[in-house]
Structure formats: structure tokens, C-alpha cells
Amino acid sequence: MRRQNQSITNRHIIRLITAIALVFAMQAQTDDSFYAGKVVTIIVGSTAGGGLDAYARVIARHIGRHIPGTPEVRVQNMPGAGTLVAAHYFFYKVPADGLTIGSWSGFYTIKWRVEDKPDGIKPAKFGWIGAPVSPNTVCALMARTGIDSIDAWRASSRPLKFGSSSRTNMTHILMRFMGNATSLPIQLITGYKGTSNIRLALQTGEIDGACFSWPSMRSTARAMLDAEGDDKLIPLIRVGDPGDPEVADLVEVHDLIDDPSDIATLDSMSAGFELHRSYTTPPGTPKDRLEILRRAFDATMSDEAFLADIERAGLVVNPIRGHRLEEYVNLIVSMPAAQLEALRPLVDP
């Protein structure tokens, strides 16, 4: 009797083990059920309240529906050093299980490539999911300066003060480049904490102008764009095509540059611009999970409820797909030495 009981127990245990092994084997084969009941975390490299964070929160609200198994999606802010803290954390620390998505400035790809430290971040190792929008910077001046055209700016007897937050920041590097490559007199004032303080400095008169990504400028500086008289902010230059009639007629930055080598430098930077708002997976994430996330991201970008939320939040969507981002990364990684040397003085703080 006792022996019989024991054998039943043993049999139960064997069955249980077989069942568990089967479940694991199934999971390893198809990832469809992997996300069911799990939590996906989006790590945002800025404080809550910024543009990067706003996109992440809207995406987090909708992307879960497009991932098989409909996991819960949360946003976690990890601010610091213009998203670099999050990027480092993401490269070195996060487990590559497909449950964590990173949102930090992909423009740093250029910095990492130029620095090329042996133990540094290798951008090609990330998985690139997609980007909701390309940043398309617009540079604008206060009407107070009396300058309302490129010609007037070029003729200005004093350099115009432009505010920026950090020497590693994308717009800072762009402005630095413009100061070198165009004949426009620019003086950079660096150290403002975020774009809201740059906007305040524009209004106090401490600085004359600023370059922001257009999606951010059009919503956060709306009152200044619409103002009258001296307080008006006048957009003058665009980088790329933001696809918005409001700034379609502006001078594109390429038209201000004559030297072919400068144009080549700008083009290699442009690849970095496209990566600015990208979403990534940590190095070593299984390919099939990256693909699941890419498909979910693409589906979210055309999801009607998502687009309604985007509109309500005053944001715009102009998505770049993951495969395309990967091409930009390859472009940067395989950049010729001459280009790297041209970028080095811009990127080195």
C-alpha cells in the first residue's frame, strides 16, 4: 500500500516535470505567449514632463495591445546627463529579455563612434525598434533683435546669443557646426537646464535665439510663436523637412553651406538626427522578440486611438521604422576616417 502510494507520487512528479519542460520548450520555440502576463518597461532618459517622456507615455498606453499576449507597459524615468545615464544603464545593466525598451537620444551614436573607446558603448549592439518622429530642428530668433531674415542675421554686427543645455546635446552640436560652416554670427551660451529655461532666457533677454526640435517648439513655444511685437519668436532656419506648412518656407540649412566637406559632415550628422527619438532593446535581445516589438511599434504608429492621444497632447507623429534606423546606425559605424576627424571637434566637449 505504502509502496503503491509512493510510486503514484513519483509518477506525479515525473508528469509534472515533463509538463513544465514542455511548457518551457514551447516557450522557447514560439515567443507568442512570452509576453502574456508580463510587464514591459520603457526606460525614459529624461524627467517626466519633457517631450521624450510625453511620447513614451502615449506609446506605453497603446503598444501593449499590439504585442502578442498584451503585456502591461510601464514608463520609468531615469533622468540624468541629457539621457546618457539611461543609455549607459541600458547598455551595461539591463537584462536582454525583451522586457525593457529604452528611450534616450540616439544621436549619441555619433559621439560613441567618434570616441571609439574599447570598453565604450557599441551602438550596433542595440536592437533598434523604431522612432515616432524625426527631430527636425528649427532655429529661431526673438523679434526684439530686429533681425527677421537670414540676410539681416548675416549682416549683424554682433554675434547672436543662442542658448543650449549641454555641450553633448544634439542641438548644441548642430549650432556649433552652423557657427563654423555658415557665415552666420553665433555665440553659444551653454548650461540651461532644459528647453523651458531656454525659453525663459529668451524672454528675459539673456539670449537672442535658440534651436529646438520643431515638434517640441511648435507646442511648448506656441505662445511665443503667436506673440506680437518684440516678444515674438521668429523661426528662420530648418534642418531637413519637418513636414509642417508653418515652417515649410524656411531656409534649409544645406542652402547656407558652400563647402562640400561641410555638407558631407552635415549629412553624417543627419543620420544621427534621425536616431534622436529612437526606441531600442538592450544588446543581446533575441531577434524574434526584437521583431515582435518592431511589429508592435509600427502597428501602434498607425493605431487610431494612439493618433488621437498624440493629437490631444499636441504632439506629432512621423515614424521611422526599425530597419531604417539600423541603416542609419550602419552608416555612422562605417563612417570614413576623414568624416570622423571632421566631427571630432564638434562632439568633444
Binding site: V75, L200, E206, G314
Partner: protein
């Protein structure tokens, strides 16, 4: 519609008069309840909680959403004051200033009065912050735009020097501590150059990233303020007389203090509102500046020796000031957020993202009676009503809360230590900040023993990066003569005066050795004829100088070798700190230091310290707490939080407090279960699971 109409509409929108108003009021109440909890729990910040809750508000109406989020955000400072007063643990970073005098009053059996004063001034502060600014809307723009980087730099110096001036009688030590705080704030990623500074990557490993985001203000303030209180508690085993302490009339006395010192409360509220208005300066600062203002002219006050020399009336001022200011700053920081989209604080920055998600666009429309002024006013009303509700809630539970202070110190202390552990763990969901808290806890005890004031250090840490930034921006944007602006010169008067006085004492000490003290100081120091400082005091002063010289060497080498990253400000801060520390040490060695005088008084008069429980942590207790904390960390890291907390509580209750075993089991079980329920289940905080994770 007129402005008055908008004011009334704004109020009606959040009161249960209409169906929509009822919903908004319900959410407001829910927000207040949550804010009540968040305010009490250290490490859980209102900003972080608001960020977590934003997704839940997508489908709500804007008025209800803002009633909910603002209701939460605007009461945390009020309930944060409650824990500061009762157990000396600042529940929020913005409530640390209330610990100093508020908890000192509790220790003297005046908890009710201190709470009454804190709650009363909170309501008045919230009212003035919100409505004062509503009325000041026309002048908000010029007010905000008059502060450029040079003025901001000078304002930060003004804040730090005035706090150094009042928070201890040892002004030079205060200034040295402020400089130390400045240096601490430089730890982390330099936002301008994009490279890490002083992050100890050599020790922690370059991939640790732990200090890249700088020192956590919460972890540091828990260490500096809460740990020393716990150390004192461990050596306090007497049972208090409960008859007087819990009487409700004491709370009324506290309320009447608000009326009695109405002009002080008004001034501190205005200070808070103005500081709230300045972008990036925010909550951590307002409380200290108000504290400095409230204690201005109060003689005999020494932060490091709370309670021994001051009258109740002077101490209550130290509660009223920060109590009012940390609430009025909410209204202050909200107005520029709404009017310009420029958030005044971290939590308003997060609210701004909620505004945007709800299609509310900050700008002039928010101030236009024909458009969104009603919504703006409903937000300002929310702050006022939320604070009234919070105070009402506090009054309901206040008697039970005050009973906490009647517990024997040895019984209460392990619970509080566990509470602080969870609080600093929650900062970054890791053990790193627990260690930071422990280090600053040891430093806090050392500072108290040596009469080095703690507030300037904390404020230096809060303001360091903005001071560095605004100085750098001033020079870049305005050139070498940035300080010639009239606003800068006007603000500069106060810092110059603060530094002038010790400089004068110092100079006279050298030119005319006799007759250096003012009549008042001479009266206090008359028993002191031998001029000798105690050996530990001398050793500590020498140690302070050595620490500063070491820091100066490090920053100097960085500056001269041209290491990447901002090097000028860290060098200036440590240079000034070395000067102040040297000055303080020389005065001590010459027997001219106030700290020295007080130590002699204490040594000669033991009966005084018998009457009021000592607030100076003994080295023995500090060592015991350090051991206990280490044990706590090890056990929790291996056995997981729930089991570890239970074991440690049980052990310390039975062996330390000599509680009977079955009572101890019940207490430890209740305590650890309550923390698991609140932090892990309610707030979804990932507490350590210990080695269980591995299996």
C-alpha cells in the same frame, strides 16, 4: 466674464454642487488621501507618485484630473511636516527644516503645539501661496522676467548665507558646511560638459553609474536628520507622562501661535511663494530660507543643540516659518507653469506633462478670464481645499499619532530605522542609497557633536548645481561685468553682511587679542577663562580642515590639469570652504568659538541635560545603530525584506528594549506586515527578495 467671476467659477468647479463638481471633489479627496500617505512615507516623493498616476487620468476630465494630481501634490508638504515633528524623520525632502525645532518641541513634550503650529501655518501658507498669486497674476510676468542668471546666482548665495547665519552660532562652520554641500552637489554627471565628476568610478567601477545622477537629496536628508534622532532614541528608555502630552488644547495653542505670529507666517508664505516662482530653485530651498527668516534675531539658537537654550516661543517660530513656506511654494511654482509653461519645481514639471496630455496649453490663455482663467483658479482653489482637508484628516488621527511619541525610545527606534531603510531603498530601488543614508547618518551625528550646522550642508547640496550653472551662464551671457547689474548689487548686500561679521571678529581677534567679543557674547563666555577647547572638538576641527585641504587638492589638480568637465566652481567652492574651516578652527583653538563655549557649559552643568533628554547622539549609541543597520542590511539582503524585517525587529525588541517575547512577536509581525502591505502591495515598490530570488 470678469476675474471675480472666474474666481467663483473656479471654486464651484471643484465643490460638490454640480455632478461634475462632485466627481472633481471626489478625486480631490482621493488625491488628498494618497498625498497624506505619500507625505508621511519617506523616499516616496509626490513628484514620482504623480508621474505614476498620470496614465490613470487619460480618460478623466481635465478639472477632475488636476483636482486629483494637485490635491495629491499639495498636501505632501503638510503631512511630511507631521513625521518631521513627531519622530524627526522628514517624510518629504521639503519637510526637513521642520525637524529642527518641531522635533525638539516634541522631545520636550510639546508635540501637540508643534503639530498645531505646523498644520495651521500650512493652511495659511497654502492660502497665501494660491490666492496671493492669483491676485498677483498681473505682476507675475515682470517678476519672473526680472530674474536673469546673474540675479539667480546672487539669490542662491543670499539663501545659503542667510541659512548659514542663523542655523548655528558658529557662522564660519556653517559657511564651511555650505561649501561642503556645494562640493557634494558637484558629484555626478556634469550636465554641461557631459562627463562624470567625482563619481568615484575607481572604487565603484565605471559601469556602476551609481553616482552619475548625483547624490539623492532624500537619502542625504534622511541620513543627516533622521539617523541622529534614531541614535538618540536608542539611548532613551524612559516612559513619558502621557497626561499632558496628548491634550487637544495643545494643538489649539499651536493654532493660536499662527495668529500670534501672523506677520511672520505671512512673510514666510510670501518668501515660499517667491522661491516657488523661480524655476529650478523650488521646494528644498523655500523651507530653509523661511526657517532662516523666522529665526533671524532669535539669539541662543544652535541647530546642533536644539532645545537647550531656546524658549518655546522661539522654537515655534522655527516651525511656523518652514510650515508656511513649503506649502505656499506650491502656488508659487504653479503660476509660471501655467502662464509660461516654465515649471517652477520637479512636481510642476510633471504636472505640465499632464496638462499637455489633457490638451491644456500653458500660455496667456490660462490667465485670460474669457478663456481658461477659470481652470487656473480651480487649480489654485484645489491647493487651498486640499490643505484644509489634509489638516482635518490630521486632526482626526492626531491623538493616535502623538501616542507614538510616548513609546519608549528603544521600542520605537528599530521601527523607525526600518522605515528609513525602506525610504532610502525606495529612492532608486537599490541598496546603494541605503548606504548613502548610513554614511550621512554617521556624518550627521559627528556634525551635531561638533556643532557644525546641518542645514547649510543640505541647502548647499540643493542649490549647488544651480549656483554653478547661473554663475557660468552669467559670465557667458553678460561678460566679466555681470555683477554690475543693479539687481545683483542690491541682492549682494545680505551675503556680504553675513560674511562680514565673522570676518570682523576674526580680524579683531588678530589685531586686538583682548576685548574681541561683544558684550552679549562676553556675558556667555565669562566662565571660559582657560581658552582651551576640548580635545575631541580640536580633533574634529583639524579633521574638517584636513578634509577641505584634500578636496582643494583634488579640485585644484583637476583645474590645473585641464581635466574635462567644469572645474572652476568646484575649485572655488572648496577654496572658500577651506578658508571658512580654517577660520573656524583658528577661533576654536584660540578659545573664541561659540561651540567651544557651549561645550564647556554642558560639561559644567550636567543637571540641565538631566531635565531635558539629551539631543546629542552618543558615540556608543551611534556605533550600536551602525552595527544594527549593517545587520539589517545583511539580513534583509539574504532573507528578503519581509522575513528580514521581522527577525531584526524581534531581535531588537527582545534584546534591546527587553519587551516580553510574545508581545515582541506581535509587534514585529504587525510592523513588518504593515510595511510589506504599504510599500510592496499598495505602492508596488520592489523590496528586496533576498536569496530567494536565486532559487
Amino acid at each position: 466674464m470678469t476675474t471675480i467671476g472666474a474666481l467663483i467659477d473656479g471654486l464651484a468647479a471643484i465643490l460638490p454642487l454640480t455632478p461634475a463638481g462632485s466627481i472633481a471633489f471626489l478625486f480631490l479627496f482621493a488625491g488628498v488621501l494618497l498625498g497624506f500617505l505619500v507625505g508621511i512615507l519617506p523616499g516616496i516623493s509626490s513628484a514620482g507618485t504623480i508621474a505614476l498616476l498620470i496614465p490613470f487620468t487619460y480618460s478623466m476630465e481635465p478639472t477632475a484630473t488636476f483636482a486629483f494630481l494637485l490635491g495629491l501634490g499639495s498636501v505632501t508638504a503638510t503631512t511630511g511636516d507631521v513625521t518631521s515633528v513627531l519622530v524627526g524623520i522628514p517624510g518629504e525632502g521639503t519637510a526637513a527644516a521642520t525637524v529642527i525645532d518641531g522635533h525638539a518641541m516634541t522631545r520636550r513634550g510639546q508635540a501637540g503645539r508643534a503639530l498645531g503650529a505646523a498644520l495651521g501655518s500650512s493652511v495659511v501658507g497654502a492660502l497665501i501661496g494660491a490666492l496671493g498669486l492669483a491676485l498677483a497674476i498681473p505682476v507675475v510676468r515682470p517678476l519672473l522676467l526680472s530674474v536673469g542668471s546673474p540675479e539667480l546666482f546672487m539669490l542662491t548665495l543670499l539663501a545659503i548665507t542667510s541659512v548659514s547665519a542663523v542655523s548655528g552660532r558658529n557662522r564660519l562652520a556653517g559657511l564651511a558646511m555650505a561649501c561642503f554641500g556645494f562640493w557634494l552637489s558637484m558629484i555626478g554627471f556634469d550636465p554641461v560638459s557631459g562627463v562624470p565628476r567625482f563619481t568615484f568610478d575607481m572604487i565603484l567601477g565605471s559601469a556602476s553609474l551609481f553616482l552619475w545622477d548625483g547624490l539623492s537629496l532624500v537619502a542625504v536628508s534622511l541620513g543627516l536628520f533622521a539617523i541622529p534622532e534614531i541614535v538618540v532614541l536608542f539611548s532613551r528608555n524612559e516612559v513619558r507622562d502621557r497626561s499632558t502630552v496628548t491634550r487637544m488644547t495643545n494643538i489649539l495653542v499651536g493654532f493660536s501661535d499662527v495668529v500670534k505670529h501672523r506677520w511672520l507666517v505671512l512673510r514666510c508664505s510670501l518668501i515660499g511663494a517667491y522661491i516657488g516662482l523661480l524655476p529650478g530653485v523650488g521646494g528644498g530651498t523655500a523651507q530653509w530660507v523661511a526657517y532662516a527668516h523666522a529665526k533671524k534675531g532669535v539669539h541662543g539658537g544652535d541647530e546642533s543643540d536644539e532645545g537647550s537654550l531656546e524658549s518655546d516661543d522661539d522654537q515655534v517660530k522655527g516651525v511656523l516659518g518652514p510650515g508656511a513656506a513649503n506649502n505656499s511654494k506650491e502656488g508659487g511654482s504653479l503660476v509660471p507653469t501655467l502662464a509660461f509653461g516654465i515649471p517652477g519645481s520637479v512636481s510642476t514639471a510633471i504636472l505640465l506633462s499632464a496638462f499637455v496630455l489633457h490638451g491644456v496649453v500653458p500660455g496667456p490663455a490660462m490667465l485670460d478670464p474669457e478663456r481658461d482663467l477659470g481652470l487656473t483658479f480651480s487649480m489654485l482653489w484645489t491647493i487651498v481645499i486640499a490643505n484644509l482637508l489634509a489638516v482635518a484628516l490630521c486632526l482626526v488621527v492626531i491623538r493616535q499619532l502623538i501616542f507614538i511619541t510616548l513609546l519608549r525610545g528603544t521600542v520605537l527606534a528599530p521601527f523607525l530605522l526600518l522605515f528609513v531603510f525602506v525610504g532610502s531603498f525606495a529612492v532608486s530601488n537599490g541598496i546603494g542609497n541605503v548606504i548613502v543614508t548610513a554614511i550621512f547618518g554617521a556624518l550627521g551625528c559627528l556634525m551635531i557633536r561638533n556643532h557644525w550646522p546641518r542645514p547649510p550642508l543640505l541647502l548647499g547640496l540643493v542649490l549647488g548645481s544651480i549656483t554653478e550653472n547661473s554663475l557660468s551662464l552669467s559670465i557667458q551671457a553678460h561678460g566679466a561685468y555681470w555683477w554690475m547689474r543693479p539687481g545683483v548689487l542690491l541682492i549682494a548686500i545680505v551675503p556680504v553682511m553675513v560674511i562680514w561679521r565673522p570676518a570682523k571678529i576674526f580680524l579683531t581677534a588678530y589685531t586686538r587679542r583682548s576685548n574681541i567679543l561683544t558684550t552679549k557674547d562676553a556675558a556667555t563666555s565669562s566662565p571660559l577663562s582657560d581658552r582651551s577647547a576640548t580635545v575631541p572638538a580640536r580633533a574634529s576641527a583639524a579633521m574638517l580642515v584636513i578634509v577641505f585641504l584634500a578636496l582643494l587638492t583634488v579640485t585644484g589638480i583637476r583645474l590645473l590639469s585641464g581635466t574635462t568637465g567644469g572645474n572652476v566652481f568646484p575649485f572655488l567652492a572648496t577654496l572658500a570652504g577651506t578658508g571658512f574651516a580654517l577660520g573656524a578652527a583658528i577661533l576654536l583653538f584660540k578659545g573664541r568659538s561659540p561651540a567651544n563655549i557651549m561645550q564647556h557649559q554642558k560639561a559644567g552643568d550636567e543637571t540641565v541635560s538631566d531635565k531635558t533628554p539629551s539631543s546629542v547622539p552618543s558615540a556608543g549609541s551611534a556605533l550600536f545603530v551602525l552595527l544594527f543597520a549593517t545587520l539589517l542590511m545583511v539580513i534583509i539582503e539574504t532573507a528578503g525584506f519581509a522575513l528580514g524585517a521581522f527577525v531584526v525587529l524581534l531581535g531588537s525588541l527582545v534584546m534591546g528594549a527587553r519587551v516580553r517575547i510574545h508581545t515582541a512577536v506581535v509587534m514585529a509581525l504587525t510592523g513588518s506586515a504593515a510595511m510589506v502591505i504599504i510599500f510592496q502591495l499598495l505602492l508596488a515598490l520592489p523590496l528586496p527578495n533576498g536569496l530567494v530570488d536565486i532559487f
